[in-house]
Amino acid sequence: MSTLVVVEARGEALPPQALELVGAAQSLGEPTDALLVGSGVRALAPRLPVRRVLVGDDQSLRPYLAEVWTPLVADAVEQSQADVVLFPHTLLSRELAPRVAFRLGTAAVTDCTALGRADGQLVLAKPIYGGNALADYAVESRPVVATLRPRAFPAAEPGGATPEVIDVAVPAASPRAVVVDTVQAAPSAGPTLKDARVVVSGGRGLGGPENWHYVEELAAALGAAVGASRAVTDAGWVPPSLQVGLTGTTVSPDLYVAVGISGAVQHMAGCGGSRNLVAINRDPDANIFRHARWGIVGDYKEVLPALTARIKELKGSG
């Protein structure tokens, strides 16, 4: 019995989630092995605080193709005799993990936020229905394959005993897919409004465009997209593309922070699907509070700087 974590590496540093995967694996109480996959990544192996590191290192592994990676990872899982295999919930592993699971005749649970045991059985928790419910899954076939949500698990401490490094054979592959070009997109300023998991929106209650920076600063601290009510885009404080509402963008983020927004029907039609709504408004009767999970009745000029600072603190320490 052991747990295998899959580390999709590139370059000279461990990927951000590698130690979180190890931490999650260690919490299961079984020996932890890692499978390090990539091209020219072997040197990273000793930095993983695990029992054994299986290394699949070959030029054919980059750029990534599921056709090439799936047999390698499936073979390595069998070789390691792991009964739990943990992947990061990255774009790459969202494709790879289910393919490996199906190749091994088992099922995966993706985007897990917690691992635990119930009645001696491993259970994997994940939010479903857009976060309206949480489900605990048990997998009855072996191995259990899961992808883990980033930042949901505490990272393992680096260092400790040097792991045993074992090279695994990279199966010769002749993939049908050919990567003909790789394009690096210019890093965007932040998430797009429509797809953002966190949105901070400002309304007329801010008083004037000179106060808009309060909203932007909070958004930056949260890594959020910035939105606005129609009154604000109408008044020309910000471009119309930021409008959240029936006639603007419809958003349904995990967290929606509405600052100085009264919550008229046309606005709520654009953000009513938000999982968690925070309302900050001076008017205790504002309609927005009827839709909010948390509310603060008060002056945003006092609330926001404190909130922003505290979020930065928490993020820095987390």
């Binding site: 007329r204 119309p240 006639t247 419809t250 008229a264 029907v265 039609a269 009513g272």
Partner: protein
């Protein structure tokens, strides 16, 4: 006529008449054939109503006179022409066959006095028109040479008439000549002219008439011939009722559903184009034009007319004497235009700009029907081409999914009334026998937090007045108005059928609606689906309850209240006074009006009609901002209205303009409730 080149002159006149008349008839026949490319429509019902309107607006020049300068100017020319045409006909008759005259008129003092008077008045009218075009230059007019040519021709006609008559008089004075009192004054100036002089002016007059006739059908002054017909042939359907569309039948037959080509409009739509005089009264009233949007109702009509003239000939039968017949869709499809009517000639944006407020139709002196054409073309965009912006699509999908424009779950439609004790028809044994009417809530009343407060206020007022009413709860769905006005007739019919079935199953006969859009659809449009109800607006009901003493406003309200007319109860149903009566009943209130004369039938739309409430206003400036400014010209302490979307738009405007706290926007019912004593505020949760 006497003795001067007798036979030859008659012959020349006959030839000239044949030539001028021939040119006229040739062009008129062409225009008539083009008009007949349109689909059939019956416009002969309600003759009495048609006659009354004809007398008021053609003979009486009613709508024209709503603008004093232009109205008087036009009426002088119009009435003058009516009289002078009799004289002209007489001249031509006599000219063709000497001695042949229209009986009774030639020596009739009354006719002669009127003739000369009107000739002079026409000259005054023409002078006013020249002044307006050359000096005053109002913005709504189109400035072309055409108008100046026509005005010159008219002036020439009058001048030559005076000169011909007076010179003739100088030659041979008759005893009845004195009735031609203006010519009598001029006659002495001639001395003893040669008869040729008189003949010259006679010929000048007659040839000008013939030239005018030949030129007329090429000019915007074609309206001289078509206006009377156009007014007579106007639609007598309720103003708020859009033409029925047999969606499934047309699909079966492979026909287009909306107007995408000239053959998809009715012949009356084409007659509208011929009748447009480019006066621009529609444009001056249009909220889209006034806020700098691409839509101008005037240019819409003119562009369609020009498109008919350009596109139509290719679709006419080869035989020039034959009229187009039968369904022409196939012919039009087989012979596609180089420029599409919708998209190339009339841009999509132009069609989406319309709020269907009907201000253009109300302003048009010749009763051109702009809004139905726009809806027909929207139908083409939506149903034939599936071409519309993301906002419209979201509206359609929300209506499909949840029966309201915001996609609130249907199950929550009745939640607003919790704790108010309003019976729900069909629930808890409540039947139609137990109540006098159904209160129609509408999507805004059910889901918009702001208008929920208004609904609760209305409920409180009705309960206080001891009214027996119920609501439909979750059984109610969107009436379909936004879908229909956005051109999605299919979706409209789905929603409307559902409501009609519900209402008919429950046996509902009487309905009180608060949303003017619901009100209009229930009252004017559901009859097309077999839904016949007695529908009143809540302001009508409240005015009646006050008159009956069932509601007594006592608390004084010292504010100046400016009332904004919602289009769908105002222009569409002429409910101008009932809401004002409610306001007037409040002690101490001063009733004000929006500035610039923009009230009653000239009230400007708030910008929400025609499904615009659910679409972003991307072009031009904001209609609601302009409307708020007009209201603020009335120095209001509060603005009253009677429509959820007007409240939404005007409140939005007060927020953007930063006057939300100082200038409350209130439903008429909220003002009334505030004026009853304290215990009447049942359900009102404060504003």
């Amino acid at each position: 006529m006497n003795g001067l080149g007798l036979g030859v002159e008659n012959l020349v006149l006959a030839i000239a008449l044949a030539f001028g008349g021939g040119l006229f008839l040739n062009r008129a026949w062409h225009l008539y054939r083009l008009m007949r490319l349109g689909r059939p429509t019956s416009r002969t019902d309600h003759p009495g109503e048609r006659l009354a309107l004809f007398l008021e607006h053609v003979v009486g020049q009613g709508r024209l006179l709503s603008e004093p300068y232009a109205g008087v100017m036009h009426a002088l020319i119009f009435w003058g022409f009516c009289v002078i045409t009799v004289m002209t006909a007489d001249m031509l008759l006599t000219g063709l066959v000497p001695g042949l005259t229209i009986p009774w008129i030639e020596q009739n003092p009354v006719f002669l006095v009127s003739l000369e008077t009107f000739e002079a008045l026409v000259l005054i009218g023409v002078a006013m028109a020249f002044y307006r075009r050359l000096v005053g230059k109002p913005r709504r007019l189109t400035y072309t040479g055409d108008a100046l040519i026509i005005l010159s021709l008219i002036a020439t006609l009058m001048v030559t008439a005076f000169l011909a008559t007076s010179s003739q008089m100088a030659i041979a004075r008759q005893d009845w000549s004195r009735w031609s009192y203006i010519s009598s004054l001029i006659a002495p100036l001639w001395g003893s002219p040669s008869p040729t002089v008189s003949r010259f002016f006679w010929w000048a007059h007659v040839l000008t008439v013939l030239g005018f006739l030949a030129y007329l059908p090429w000019s915007k002054h074609l309206h001289i011939l078509t206006s009377a017909f156009n007014v007579w042939l106007r639609s007598t359907a309720p103003k708020g009722q859009l033409p029925w569309l047999d969606v499934e039948g047309k699909l079966e037959r492979g026909e287009r559903l909306g107007a995408g080509d000239v053959v998809d409009f009715t012949w009356k739509d084409h007659l509208d184009g011929y009748t447009c005089t480019e006066c621009g009264r529609c444009e001056a009233q249009c909220p889209a034009s006034r806020t700098g949007k691409p839509l101008s109702p005037k240019w819409l009509i003119l562009d369609l007319k020009h498109y008919l003239l350009e596109r139509g000939p290719a679709l006419l039968p080869a035989d020039g004497m034959e009229l187009p017949r039968g369904d022409l869709t196939a012919a039009a499809t087989a012979n596609p235009p180089t420029k599409r009517m919708v998209g190339d000639v009339i841009a999509d944006d132009v069609l989406w700009d319309c709020t269907t407020c009907r201000a253009c139709m109300e302003a048009c002196p010749v009763f051109i029907e702009h809004v139905p054409k726009i809806i027909e073309m929207r139908r083409h965009l939506v149903l034939d081409e599936s071409r519309f912006e993301a906002d419209a699509r979201r509206l359609f999908e929300n209506l499909e999914a949840s029966g309201n424009p915001w996609r609130f779950p249907r199950a929550t439609r009745g939640d607003w009334a919790r704790g108010l004790g309003v019976p729900v028809l069909g629930e808890g044994g409540v039947t139609v026998e137990d109540v006098d009417y159904v209160l129609w809530v509408g999507c805004a009343g059910a889901h918009d937090e702001r208008y929920q407060r208004v609904m609760r206020t209305i409920v409180g007022l009705l309960q206080r007045a001891g009214e027996r009413f119920a609501v439909l709860g979750q059984r109610e769905t969107c009436t379909g108005d936004p879908a229909r006005r956005a051109g999605h007739e299919y979706l409209y019919q789905l929603l409307a059928r559902e409501n009609v079935e519900t209402l008919n199953r429950l046996g509902v006969k009487r309905i009180v609606a608060s949303c003017p859009h619901c009100f209009n659809t229930l009252k004017a449009e559901y009859p097309q689906l077999g839904g016949l109800y007695d529908v009143v607006h809540h302001t009508e009901l409240l005015a009646r309850l006050i008159a009956e003493g069932k509601l007594e406003p006592r608390q004084a309200d010292e504010r100046q209240i400016v009332y904004h007319d919602p289009c769908y109860i105002g222009r569409y149903h002429a409910l101008y006074e009932q809401p004002r009566d409610v306001i007037r009943a409040i002690p101490g209130v001063r009733l004000g009006e929006c500035g610039g004369g923009c009230h009653h039938n000239r009230a400007m739309c708030c910008g929400a009609g025609g499904a615009r409430a659910f679409m972003e206003e991307k072009r031009g400036t904001r209609i609601n901002h302009l409307r708020l400014l007009q209201a603020m010209e009335g120095q209001p302490g509060a603005v009253a209205t009677a429509c959820p979307y007007c409240i939404m738009m005007l409140e939005d405007a007060t927020r953007t303009k930063g006057v939300f706290d100082e200038l409350p926007i209130r439903d008429v019912s909220e003002l009334l409730a505030g004026s009853l004593d304290a215990d009447s505020r049942n359900g009102q949760t404060g504003t």
